[in-house]
Symmetry: C2
Subunit: 359 residues, 2 copies
């Protein structure tokens, strides 16, 4: 178990050792630690190794010149200069919010970036300014379109946040597949089965064995199969890919580069790096922010009055579970699994940094 | 079987007889007939009766004063003055596109409207101007949030369109439930079972009997159950409800009025009428439109190269099936089921209009 401060200090030092500026290191650290606190440990300090490997193989630029390459009053295309995704993402979201300040909304398509951590980090930046925030990203291909066997799309997440007055904000962040890929990997490592409807083998047979992902298997889109609406998951994943990849000039579909350093990117490129898409809408571009936020409280109170199924105590609003997780982990500490502790320790030794091995 | 022109002429006359201007009648007719051609007959001339009943009960304004009540360069809130949804929707989408012309994107939240037909009609307006289009609407409550038994949300659809160069446009329009409500109603009328994972009974038991929807049953969000990601369907439906309802000042969640004339609206109101949300993004606010459209062709060609499952011949792009349907129906004629023919005939008689009863 580690305190938030301990992991934060170490992560900050790690990014500085790779050559990041203090401010860029602080941004990347903040995204990783937010992931840990909200309970998305698949996007937290486990990613230190991935960025270390990318850096060692010369595939990430720790001092990028992030710039706008095309813009209008409400839009921009940002070139991330192959920077760290969290730095490129934060800068892009700031540009979206600056445009929203001026003309009501701001929309930024970003190319030439890398894995940007949890998608939900960026909408939460907007919440602090009484804005609605959106963030999307494409990702390396694992998902087959409905009725197909080919890895054509990523688990391409959507994140959205709506501000509130006296309630927790509505903050959602979800892969456009039934489950995130991280859950499948964990099940595969533990030799566990997964429910029907998440994956299929190389021939298109339904499977409960996550191990088939290493033998040509594919993830199914949200919905699972056609009669349960998997074409809608396929549409959502496609929409994220087009807005993040095609509109920005990044790679799209099967050409999106893998994040892990040990996998080589595809030889064929159709754009630059990984793509993201960000949106910010000023609430008072539609109605007084205070009125909207009170209405959001009313919306939340209404939904929470839903009658729960017999096995449940209450209905949750998106973001509520993550908030409870954060409160718990800030008090009790953040657990890190032994394999990740060992990886981080090796990287710490490489850089001559201290990192305590704790269980 | 009816020709496109025959149904178009009749529908136009119907709206004029209710008191619509020629132009408003033409707009509403175009939306209904587009629904027929694309194969969404649940949103075509079957809705003539619904609008007739709304009109007879004084719940729709056929000469609305549709106006912007709040705006910035890239946003507007539109008050539909309780007009016909297709008229209010078309005007709102036009405002979004005008704003996009000026500042790159336009975003319109609309309140005080009624059922606006197929959500996909509005993005196709944007396609013609080299814009990406979005359209969302809330709808009367049928869907239970994950782990609940209460009708809190509608089947709240999302529609999105991306322009292309030499391929059919990417045009998607889907309910945020596994299937549209229309399919359940048809199955219920025919006494057919539906697959597991679409509905639950009043106690939360999974059901295959669509008849339970009349006995306190609820539709499940896209994903079906929690382990298949139904919380993601719940998020999507909520996002549509908040953008369409809360942000515009319309009713939201369980307060959205029913469309059918024979059901009375809830006594409690939290806003005005039904709400929609529209978006338009000029392609050349991000990159030259020709380049993007060629890239979209490439995206489509890439996805279509997916290996199909053994029982399929090809992978479809959203909008492709609807396009084929349109080509077929324009040639062969549009079928209308006998029950709808009878309803329309009665309404024709009421107004002294000709309508041939055909099988």
């Amino acid at each position: 178990m580690y305190t938030y401060e301990y992991l934060k200090d170490f992560t900050q030092q790690f990014f500085i050792k790779m050559g990041c500026s203090d401010i860029d290191a602080a941004i990347s650290t903040d995204v990783f630690l937010e992931a840990e606190l909200r309970g998305f440990s698949s996007h937290g300090v486990i990613r230190i190794r991935d960025y270390f490997n990318l850096w060692k193989s010369g595939r990430v630029n720790v001092n990028p010149n992030i710039k706008i390459v095309h813009e209008t009053p409400s839009t921009a295309v940002v070139d991330g200069d192959c920077g760290i995704g969290m730095v490129v993402g934060t800068k892009s979201m700031e540009i979206a919010m600056e445009k929203a300040e001026k003309v009501g909304t701001g929309w930024v398509a970003t190319k030439n970036s890398n894995h940007y951590g949890i998608a939900g980090y960026y909408p939460s930046m907007a919440l602090k300014k009484d804005m609605i925030g959106f963030s999307l990203t494409n990702a390396n291909p694992l998902v087959a379109p409905t009725f197909s066997l080919s890895r054509m799309l990523g688990t391409n997440p959507i994140a959205v946040g709506f501000p509130t007055k006296n309630r927790l904000p509505f903050l959602a962040d979800f892969a456009t597949t039934p489950v995130a890929n991280g859950k499948l990997s964990v099940a595969a490592k533990k030799g566990l089965k997964v429910p029907q409807g998440l994956i299929q083998d190389a021939d298109g047979n339904p499977s409960v064995d996550p191990g088939i992902m290493k033998n040509g298997g594919t993830m199914l889109p949200l919905g699972g199969d056609y009669e349960h609406g998997s074409h809608k998951g396929y549409i959502l994943s496609s929409m994220v890919d087009i807005l993040s990849g095609v509109l920005s000039g990044a790679n799209f579909g099967p050409f999106v580069p893998p994040f892990v350093g040990y996998l080589k990117p595809a030889e064929e490129k159709v754009g630059e790096g990984t793509g993201h898409f960000f949106g910010a809408m000023r609430i008072d571009a539609f109605q007084p922010a205070e009125e909207f936020k009170l209405k959001m409280d009313e919306w939340i109170d209404t939904i929470k009055k839903s009658k729960p199924t017999p096995d449940q105590d209450e209905i949750l609003i998106p973001g509520e579970l993550e908030h409870r997780n954060e409160q718990k982990l800030r008090k009790e500490g953040i657990p890190v699994i032994p394999a990740v502790v060992s990886e981080i320790k090796e990287i710490a030794d490489y850089f001559g940094l201290d990192f305590e091995v704790r269980s």
